[in-house]
């Protein structure tokens, strides 16, 4: 078993490489098929002499043949170098941006993830235990509505309600203006706890609530449905009846049922995490959240080849690792999984 699991992990880990390579190749060529380039986008309508334009193209390395650019970048990535930005400001390591922006996305994703799992479990379990009642229907309706909500619209509704109308919460950004925080991990809540900066803690939590709720609620719908249906399935199985027959307390039975119903949920959690990062793009835009999503959107506008490639490779790598972890957890949870 141990050897089997080890091999399984290695194979799954190796599979991340071709995925990233294919993605990189697609992004690389797709970006360059389109007319225009980062230098053009930055220079825009400014009256720059042609020879200076050439000089800028050279500085950006865009005068080299395509295949040279392709392998140069790939070689860099293998050495952990994501290249330098080609649009404004030119020549800054892309990695610096990723290191600054990714923790913001991760923090938002983790909070949203927590909200979605908690809400999903709660509503799912409530639905399952009251199968066929009005409450059950209400939970199912919740699931559908949550799932179909459009993030920017829903986010804006929350901004109006809790920001403009009630003045409870800030509507954008990560910290109040002028609040200083010494960053360690880049996750502001964690950093403010580590450094004992309570002003920053309160400020960062307040800023997280609305975006995390927006994304969390939207993603919770899928859990509600899955948890409810699994629980209903599990509750109708013989071993549950056996528990009851032996007089096991209701709370314990529910716990066992939930544990059994949880296995498919873990898979969903893995998938959801990837979706979460996608949803974060919309959420970040709605709440001016300075994460990878807004970074990517800005860079696409400016055709910053290196920044886009770097961000995509990093994202792909991260999602690959998450799904690997999920698969491992799944394998450990469910002894029936064969590798």
């Amino acid at each position: 078993m141990a050897r089997g699991l080890g091999q399984y992990i290695i194979i799954r880990a190796l599979m991340i490489i071709p995925t990233i390579l294919i993605l990189y190749t697609l992004v690389f060529f797709f970006l360059r098929i389109l007319p225009g380039n980062p230098v053009m986008a930055v220079v825009g309508t400014k009256n720059i002499p042609p020879e200076q334009l050439e000089h800028l193209m050279q500085m950006a390395g865009l005068d080299k043949p395509l295949y040279v650019q392709y392998f140069d970048y790939l070689k860099g990535v293998l050495h952990g170098d994501f290249g330098v930005t080609l649009a404004f400001p030119m020549g800054k390591p892309v990695w610096d941006y990723i290191a600054q922006r990714f923790p913001a996305t991760l923090e938002l994703a983790l909070w949203a993830f927590t909200v979605s799992v908690l809400l999903g479990l709660l509503t799912g379990v409530i639905g399952a235990t009251r199968k066929g009642t009005k409450t059950d229907t209400a939970m199912r309706v919740y699931s559908i509505i949550a799932y179909t909500l459009f993030i920017p619209w829903f986010g804006m509704m929350l901004q109006y309600l809790f920001g403009i109308h009630l003045h409870w919460l800030p509507t954008s950004g990560r910290l109040d203006p002028g609040v200083n925080l010494h960053t360690v991990t880049g996750l502001y809540v964690l950093d403010s706890i580590i450094t004992g900066n309570w002003d920053a803690l309160v400020s960062s939590v307040r800023h997280l609530i609305l975006p995390a709720l927006t994304l969390g609620i939207v993603l919770s719908g899928a859990y509600t449905r899955l948890v409810r249906n699994n629980m209903v399935d599990v509750l109708s199985q013989d071993f549950i009846r056996a528990y009851y027959a032996r007089g096991v307390a209701n709370r314990k039975v529910m716990w066992y049922a939930l544990k059994n119903a949880f296995i498919p949920v873990v898979t969903l959690m893995g998938l959801q995490f990837a979706i979460l990062l996608g949803g974060a793009v919309l959420t970040e835009t709605t709440f001016s959240w300075p994460g990878m999503g807004t970074f990517l959107v800005d860079r696409i506008d400016y055709r910053d080849y290196n920044a886009i490639q770097g961000a995509v490779i990093f994202f792909a790598f991260f999602v690959g690792i998450i799904s690997l972890i999920v698969d491992i957890v799944y394998a450990l949870l469910d002894p029936r999984v064969k590798y």
Partner: protein, 517 residues
């Protein structure tokens, strides 16, 4: 069982509301009056004046640096800044500046003529985006002694003082590397403020520079918050998170904030212009009658009202309203929405209702805000009113769009212009001089025009220059390689207690006069 879930739900709600409400008291968005928070949707691209070349970054640089001369706040008049006074030789090719004696950078390092020379040579060495503003004009620059700087120009340049007000000419702190772009360098120069915190795309904190030679800023600390889009910024203003919403709110936001009554909406004329480019090399716009017909059918007041809700004004020349030598040439030649004239011109060009002129009108969806599609649509309607034109609307993202433009691949397309320096030259030469307008892709070339523009560049007498620029504008209205449309106004929306907003014709917001009551 039932009770358990109810409890769980309750716990969740309580946790949430405790966090939320606990924060309301703890958050204390109240800023002390010594701080003003400004929201913007622009970005600071590059804190290095050798490479920064966009309007908002120039604004920030203007608050943390200063040049030898500057615009008197709120006017087009140039006054001494780091230089106390200056001299110019007869043909305006040698300019000598005498620096103040007590100049220091924000950290106390003395600023001398050598720093001015080093900074300008740095711009020439690095060859960043805006370096042509120096290299096209300056042959060499020398420090005669600690307080005297002499510029030797390549050709007589009447508007050299206007050039000197731009960031590439600002002396920078010795911390800036002599031959490298330093995009996140915060050492700054000798302006009223210094940078104390810089988190790209999130926050920029400025504090009053204790070593500034001039008047002390009225507000000690200015915080700039960067927003992704106008709607988030507007919410932040309404929620009291920011004191000022600056560049750039949408026309509809400005309109509703005006009606709201809880904010001051301050309007100032802006020097940025919008215009249509016409490809003079390719059919059918190579025919001057076609270009004139298109110009005649355009109705600017309708565009200003319907698309921009009165937040812009009609523009009838490339030289903006209010600038010396401006002449409403398109109004005189064509008027607005002059369908009859357009029809007549189209007939002369060989078109009719049964044989209509077919054109493609291009726009770019985000670069100029989200009103762009409406602008294209209204132009289509105005042109099609003639019954002799069929318009297909096309769009492309900015990176692609600029490439198409430079390569002359579009026929009729929308662009905009923010000035580099405030002189009619910056609104005419880059557009109309055949050796300077390749960026615009219109392919326009007229030897008389080239000659007039070169003459105007060399003359130092403003009256003489005015005459030449008037002629230039007259020819522009006849040749129509561009159709000027509108000139932007600038809007600053503030909380009621914010005072002292000063934005001059250079469109630069100077934070040092701001204060809170």
């Amino acid at each position: 069982m039932r009770r358990q879930y109810a409890t769980l739900a309750l716990v969740f709600l309580v946790v949430f509301s405790v966090v939320a409400s606990g924060c309301i008291s703890g958050g204390g968005g109240e800023e002390k009056p010594t701080t003003i928070v400004i929201g913007v949707t622009d970005k600071v691209t590059d804190l290095d004046p050798a490479n920064a070349y966009d309007f908002y970054t120039w604004e920030v640089l203007n608050n943390v640096m200063e040049g030898l001369v500057k615009y008197k706040p709120g006017t087009l008049e140039i006054e001494p800044a780091l230089a106390e006074n200056w001299e110019v030789n007869e043909d305006s090719t040698v300019w000598t500046f005498y620096l103040r004696k007590d100049l220091k950078f924000a950290d106390g390092t003395p600023l001398t003529a050598k720093d001015v020379v080093r900074s300008i040579e740095r711009v020439m060495t690095i060859q960043g985006d805006p370096s042509w503003l120096v290299t096209d004009f300056v042959d060499k620059v020398e420090a005669k002694d600690d307080y005297t700087v002499v510029f030797y120009l390549k050709q007589p340049t009447a508007y050299f003082l206007a050039l000197l007000t731009t960031p590439p000419y600002f002396p920078v702190h010795p911390d800036y590397a002599p031959d490298q772009i330093q995009s996140d360098q915060t050492a700054g120069g000798a302006g009223p403020y210094k940078i104390t915190k810089w988190v790209r795309d999130e926050e920029l904190v400025l504090e009053a520079n204790p070593n500034y030679y001039g008047e002390k800023p009225k507000t000690e600390k200015i915080i700039i918050k960067f927003y992704r889009d106008a709607s988030t910024m507007r919410l932040a203003l309404q929620n009291g998170e920011i004191d000022i919403a600056w560049r750039t709110l949408r026309p509809s936001d400005i309109d509703s904030l005006k009606k709201d009554g809880n904010f001051n909406v301050i309007e100032v004329p802006g020097g940025f212009i919008r215009y249509i480019c016409l490809n003079t090399k390719n059919d059918p716009t190579s025919n001057v009658k076609v270009r004139q017909a298109l110009a005649a059918a355009v109705d600017r007041p309708e565009i200003a009202q319907k698309v921009f809700m009165g937040t812009v004004e009609p523009l009838y020349s490339l030289v903006p309203n209010g600038m010396w030598s401006h002449k409403d040439v398109f109004k005189t030649a064509y008027g607005d929405g002059n369908i009859e004239k357009a029809k007549a011109l189209l007939s002369e060009a060989g078109y009719s209702e049964s044989n209509p002129l077919e054109i493609q009108l291009w726009y770019t969806p985000t670069h100029y805000g989200d009103t762009e599609a409406d602008l294209a649509q209204i132009l289509k309607e105005q042109w099609e009113k003639t019954g002799m034109i069929k318009v297909t609307i096309k769009s492309a993202e900015w990176g692609t769009y600029t490439d198409y433009a430079r390569n002359g691949q579009m026929q009729v397309y929308l662009l905009g212009w923010y000035p580099d320096y405030l002189d009619p030259d910056d609104y005419t030469t880059p557009f109309l001089k055949s050796t300077a307008n390749s960026w615009a892709g219109t392919g326009y070339s007229n030897p008389t025009m080239d000659d007039l523009l070169s003459q105007a560049q060399r003359l130092s007498d403003q009256n003489e220059r005015t005459k030449l620029y008037e002629q230039v504008q007259d020819i522009l209205a006849q040749d129509v390689p561009y159709i000027p449309l509108i000139q932007g106004k600038l809007f600053v929306v503030t909380q009621k207690n914010v005072k002292g907003v000063t934005i001059g014709p250079d469109m630069i917001f100077r934070y040092s006069t701001l204060y809170k009551e």
